[in-house]
Amino acid sequence: MAKPKVATASLAGCFGCHMSILDIDERILQLIELVDFDKSPVDDIKEFTGRCAVGLIEGGCCNEENVRVLKDFRKHCDILISVGECAICGGIPAMRNTIPLKECMDEAYRNGPSVYNPTGVYPNDPALPLVLNKVYPCHEVVKIDYHLQGCPPPADTIWQALVALLTNKPMDLPYELIKYD
């Protein structure tokens, strides 16, 4: 029987959550026994090759590319998991949500102390994804099945969640792994 496939993506995140995925250390070998990786920065597969059992999403949606990727994940994955604060609440990128879009753009591309932009145009090459009016947590864009909290969630949490899902067993998370204060 073919192994179930797992895909991962980093949207508006810092890659810290992916680091945490890799932090499962040598258990990655066990994981490879259980699953194949599909679209993911881990193996640098750029587009889905087929249906996946689980998709792990790091980061929220700050631009249209994030939205496109997230939609693509929803389309290809049976179960979609928001991993980490940014995917769940928007995280640091969402701090801009309290500032009007134009002010953000002006600070970034016109008025910032290190900006040199005599013509005052905003970068607008069609290759650059348009930013959204605000940063959205993933579950406000598509249906998300599970949330794994943490910044980043500990490797053990991610490991336990994946194994539980893939072996269809209840998840056993000790208190230390889900206590954050």
Binding site: N124, L130, L132, V142
Partner: protein, 604 residues
């Protein structure tokens, strides 16, 4: 010394610089200086010897208190669903047009502020508003314009009252246009009792015998929860502490409830008689009537009745000449916070604090007001007590049903021919009541206010009593043209506004429930949302700290239970991967405008 400083010193001195009288102090300061300004906060703190933040926390909690100047006249429009059904929308717009401001603003000359406020207890004469302390009822767009013209001319809201209401509403100390609308009298509450007759009978017995009588009558609290009154008194009596307190809960904030208003207007003597009996039974010298701020217009009458009772020896030292039994009552005015009806919040408020509920245990009967054993009962409960002592527990227990002896007042409003207050024996069938009020064709009935249950015709044969359809007394009727989902939205808005914010399930959960109901109303709901609503509602119920959060999801749960087809007709399966609540065009629009090019990924 500035005028403000002098005024504040004087006011604080009136209340013996006692910080537990903070509610009275800040209300008096606001009445005199228009608001409790930042400077005033410091001055009050200094005068009563507390920290500024303590004063500020009280002022910031209550809707009717403010640290920013408002208009000399504040018009508070009732935002309840009933008022909306009877035309508050156009009335509010007429006020806005006539004043040239929006709701929430003050006229540029600082004369008039226009605001929304939660149910003011006038649902049977909606739409209604309170202007300073004056209640105006049966509003229309024409009346709104007349009111503004009159206020601009005289600056005195009391001049708006042309025709006086019935009964004591016309009393020189009240002079209100409010109507009692007593539609059905029963033998317990809406019946005469010569002042002192029940009290004298009680004083002829021992306190323990009085409690025994109340227990024999099987009287249960009329405020909603239905706790046996005699048992509560016994606990309070037996609790340690010399000083004991009797409190009457006249906060009546549950939208759609107004029966206590009618008791206070017409049968205050009966109530005070009951409170004095309670004082005797539990061994208390002090009674407090916690009167909701919206009913401030009745305060002069109530103060007067208390004085008359003192003069007649029914209050004060040696009540009715009974050696060793001193008892008096003071009125504590609230300031517009529904949660203060919850007994532990109410006690906080009486202590001059913000109206946050307290943790239980200890229960108020053990440690209540200022740490003293305290018994809190509803207005109607005390009236029943007086009648029980007058007529005997056996007589009372014969009325009503087995588990719910006595009668109950119902405040009936909404789509019916005769809104008003009805006294029925407990156990009356809902359909009987609907027939009597002229609403047999009702499509939905909210029993017990927003924290109660919304029922449909399938439940009309059930009976109104603790063991079946329990209610603190509110019956709100909706005809077939009303949108029950919208009704639930209005109730959730109420809870979101009134949550004290202490615990997360209630503070956040109610907002999420409201958002989801709004999504569904706007056609952005999916079938999966119904399961989400149910789960979230149950979570809020079981994890909230006080009765507010424990009952606030009831409208949603009732909707899911009794009106599921209505919800199912509103939700649609999701069209693509995007949630129906996510609008990619809206998310990109402002950037496209700013940068001057369209998205190539999500083309319009």
């Amino acid at each position: 010394m500035s005028e403000l400083e002098q005024g504040i010193r004087q006011i604080c001195a009136t209340f013996h610089n006692d910080k537990s009288r903070m509610m009275d102090i800040v209300q008096a300061v606001q009445a005199r200086f228009g608001c409790v300004s930042s400077v005033a906060l410091d001055l009050i703190a200094k005068a009563v010897g507390t920290a500024r933040v303590e004063v500020e926390s009280t002022v910031s909690f209550y809707t009717f208190l403010t640290d920013q100047p408002k208009g000399k006249i504040v018009i508070r429009l009732c935002s309840d669903v009933i008022d909306e059904m009877f035309g508050m929308g156009p009335v509010a717009r007429a006020f806005e047009d006539a004043l040239g401001i929006k709701v929430g603003q003050t006229t540029p000359d600082g004369a008039i502020t226009l605001e929304w406020t939660a149910c003011i207890g006038m649902c049977d004469q909606a739409p209604a508003a309170i202007i300073n302390d004056t209640v105006v009822t049966y509003l229309s767009t024409d009346k709104a314009r007349e009111i503004v013209a009159e206020l601009r001319k005289s600056g005195d809201p009391r001049k708006l009252v042309h025709r006086l209401g019935d009964g004591h509403n016309a009393h020189p100390l009240v002079r209100s246009m409010v109507h009692n609308s007593i539609r059905r009298k029963g033998p317990v509450v809406f019946a005469d009792l010569p002042p002192g007759s029940a009290l004298r009978k009680a004083l002829a017995m021992s306190p323990v015998e009085v409690i025994r009588d109340v227990k024999t009558s099987r009287l249960r609290g009329r405020g909603g929860a239905g706790f046996p009154a005699g048992m509560k008194w016994e606990f309070t009596r037996q609790s340690e502490g010399e000083r004991k307190i009797v409190i009457c809960n006249a906060d009546e904030g549950e939208p759609g409830t107004f029966k206590d208003r009618v008791i206070l207007t017409e049968y205050a003597d009966l109530l005070f008689e009951g409170m004095a009996i309670a004082g005797y039974a539990i061994g208390a010298k002090e009674g407090i009537l916690y009167l909701r701020g919206e009913y401030a217009y009745m305060r002069p009458l109530l103060d007067h009745i208390l004085q008359v009772r003192r003069d007649a020896g029914l209050l004060g030292r040696e009540v009715c000449g009974k050696r060793g039994f001193d008892f008096d009552i003071r009125i504590q005015l609230g300031a517009g916070a529904y949660v203060c009806g919850e007994e532990t919040s109410l006690i906080s408020s009486c202590e001059g604090l913000r109206g946050d509920p307290k943790n239980r245990p200890p229960f108020p009967a053990q440690k209540g007001y200022l740490g003293c054993p305290t018994s809190v009962n509803n207005v109607e409960t005390y009236c029943c007590v007086a009648r029980i002592l007058d007529r005997g527990p056996g007589w009372f227990a014969e009325i009503g049903s087995k588990g719910s002896p006595g009668t109950k007042l119902f405040s009936v409003s909404g789509d019916c021919a005769s809104p008003g207050v009805y006294e029925y024996p407990f156990g009356v069938k809902l359909i009987e009541l609907l027939r009597d009020v002229g609403a047999e064709d009702a499509a939905a009935v909210q029993v017990g206010g927003p924290s109660g249950h919304l029922v449909g015709p399938a439940d009309y044969n059930r009976s109104l009593e603790y063991d079946d359809l329990a209610t603190g007394g509110s019956i709100v009727i909706f005809n077939k043209d009303r949108n029950v989902v919208h009704v639930v939205r209005k109730y959730l808005e109420f809870f979101v506004e009134e949550s004290c914010g202490y615990c997360t399930p209630c503070r956040v959960g109610n907002v999420l429930l409201l958002q989801k109901i709004e999504d569904i109303l706007h056609g952005r709901g999916t079938p999966a949302d119904l399961a989400y609503l149910e789960q979230l509602a149950k979570t809020v119920k079981v994890t909230s700290r006080c009765g507010l959060g424990q009952t606030s999801p009831n409208p949603v749960l009732s909707l899911l239970k009794s009106f599921r087809p209505v919800l199912e007709a509103l939700v649609k399966p999701q069209a693509d991967e995007f949630l129906p609540t996510f609008d990619i065009r809206a998310a990109l629009g402002s950037t496209e405008d700013l940068i001057g090019r369209k998205s190539v990924v999500f083309t319009p």
